[in-house]
């Protein structure tokens, strides 16, 4: 297990605030992610987990607070600098977000062809695409369209697309939501094997207690728009606080 004490934070969020009109979604959220760590963030629907993760990758602009990723304050970066940083951050979207009009191969090639600074201009992307598909066990799906894939397969392909840029950090937005228990378990095992193989650091946003139990090195509970509680799964699940207990029932 990763000990935060021995590591430098790879992501640090301080006093993050974000509102949509009168809806105050985040009111002073703080967290740190350490190298090689799997950090699970749990919270009720609408508690701002997805907003926080989108602020982290620059898809949403925070009202105030600082977000430091790999030593860079993302709010102060130019657009091209943010794009460069994004090559080090993989994002697995809740609904997979595969491009409907592109085949699996084209979906995987898309970030490779766009982030040319990291890999240069690649003439033949097939070996990298195949490697990413092998990682998720779906080499045979290379020429299929997203509409021909099941929910679990879509999630795996999305994970392969995330992996193809070999990121140091992976952000998972509810990776098991909408999947049956068996497929969920497969996705969790896949996430663990990826973390082991590539030594990535991950933030996992989930409602799935089983997922959290298996994968979390550390957890944060996002309640009342702040990080209400923090600790290991064992520590938090043993808590007597009714707000915390509600998550583990």
């Amino acid at each position: 297990m990763v000990s935060p004490m021995n590591n430098k934070p790879i992501i640090e969020i301080k006093n993050l605030r974000k509102s949509f009109g009168d809806n105050h979604v985040l009111e002073g959220f703080n967290m740190a992610l350490y190298e090689g760590e799997n950090l699970v963030i749990m919270g009720k629907s609408g508690s701002g987990k997805s907003v926080m993760i989108k602020c982290l990758i620059g898809l949403e602009e925070p009202d105030s607070g600082t977000i430091t990723v790999m030593g860079k304050n993302i709010n102060q970066l130019e657009h091209w600098e943010l794009d460069e940083l994004r090559t080090e951050i993989g994002f697995l979207f809740q609904g997979s977000a595969l491009y409907d009009s592109m085949s699996v191969r084209e979906n995987l090639e898309f970030p490779l062809r766009r982030h040319t600074k990291k890999f240069g201009i690649i003439e033949d992307t097939t070996p990298l695409v195949m490697e990413a598909l092998e990682n998720v066990g779906l080499e045979h799906a290379i020429d299929l369209m997203p509409s021909e894939l099941s929910g679990g397969m879509k999630r795996r392909i999305a994970l392969a697309r995330t992996l193809i840029l070999q990121p140091k950090i992976i952000l998972y937005d509810e990776p098991t939501t909408g999947l049956d228990p068996i497929t969920s378990k497969e996705i969790i095992l896949l996430m663990m094997s990826i973390q082991k193989k590539y030594n990535t650091s991950s933030i996992i946003i989930t409602h799935d207690v089983d997922c959290a139990r298996v994968i979390a090195n550390r957890m944060i509970l996002l309640i009342d728009n702040i990080n209400y509680a923090e600790g290991t799964f064992e520590k938090l699940s043993a808590s007597e606080d009714p707000k915390i207990k509600a998550f583990f029932k």
Binding site: L59, R86, F91, Q94, A97, L98, F110, P111, R114
Partner: protein
């Protein structure tokens, strides 16, 4: 909420919408001239919009030509003015009917398609995924589509007009024993550059409006899957209204120059 407040609220929302659309338009022009240029995607969109709408535009144009001639013939016969048929049909179609009907068809086919496609990409986070992948989604999705509709509509109108005049010639050939050669001679005799230039110019604006409203509605789609339907629907409604406004302005301006 009383009626006055409702009207005030609707008016306020209308002004907000106009403001947002203006901002969207200014962003389009800003991104249009900033590299990198998404040439491959632009050509793909041109193919999708042009090639796939061609049959529909041609069939509609052909039927309009047929019907227009069939309906006008009895009246012209009554006044002994059947010989004016080629001039009347060609000027009406080239100046007005061809561009507006083709634009309305494209608003239904292309505008709603863009609205639904971008709307669904928005609600399924594909646009966010694109941004994370180091792509400017506005440039890749919006600029290419608006540019493609702007470029393709004049070409579609050209084909639609040609087929409509051919349809008219066919009716005249069958009903009035007018040869195709004579019919087309009369068509070209009656047409002038002052008929062609303003109408071609206006079709670029029609195409721009179709792409712009479709993209605006789709790109800013909210409220989940219901919002996708709403985006597609409102893209068609707003574009149709806008087309008539543009047409009115174009006719007004043309009259100033060509009196």
């Amino acid at each position: 909420m009383d009626n006055n407040s409702k009207v005030a609220e609707s008016f306020k929302n209308f002004l907000i919408e106009i403001g947002e659309l203006s901002y969207f338009t200014s962003r389009f022009f800003k991104e249009l001239f900033n590299p990198p240029f998404e040439l491959k995607e632009f050509l793909r969109q041109c193919y999708n919009m042009g090639n796939r709408s061609l049959l529909l535009v041609c069939v509609t144009g052909f039927i309009i030509g047929l019907v227009f001639t069939l309906q006008s013939r009895p009246t012209l016969e009554e006044f002994g003015a059947v010989s004016w048929m080629p001039s009347m049909v060609s000027i009406s179609i080239i100046r007005e009917i061809g561009p507006i009907i083709t634009a309305l068809i494209c608003a239904g086919r292309i505008g709603s398609g863009i609205g639904a496609e971008l709307g669904s990409m928005r609600v399924t986070e594909q646009i966010d995924a694109m941004e994370v992948s180091g792509t400017n989604p506005f440039k890749y999705l919006v600029v290419t589509r608006i540019l493609a509709t702007t470029m393709m509509l004049p070409i579609l109108v050209f084909f639609g007009d040609a087929i409509a005049i051919f349809g008219s010639a066919m009716v005249e050939n069958m009903k009035g024993n007018v040869s195709y050669l004579l019919y087309f001679n009369q068509v070209f005799d009656s047409l002038q550059f002052s008929d062609l230039i303003p109408t071609t110019f206006k079709t670029f604006f029609f195409g721009f409006a179709i792409g712009l409203v479709g993209c605006y509605k789709g790109y800013n789609c909210k409220k989940g899957t219901a919002g996708v339907g709403l985006a597609a629907n409102s893209a068609v409604v707003y574009t149709s209204m806008l087309l008539f406004v543009i047409d009115f302005i174009a006719v007004f301006v043309t009259n100033i120059f060509y009196g």
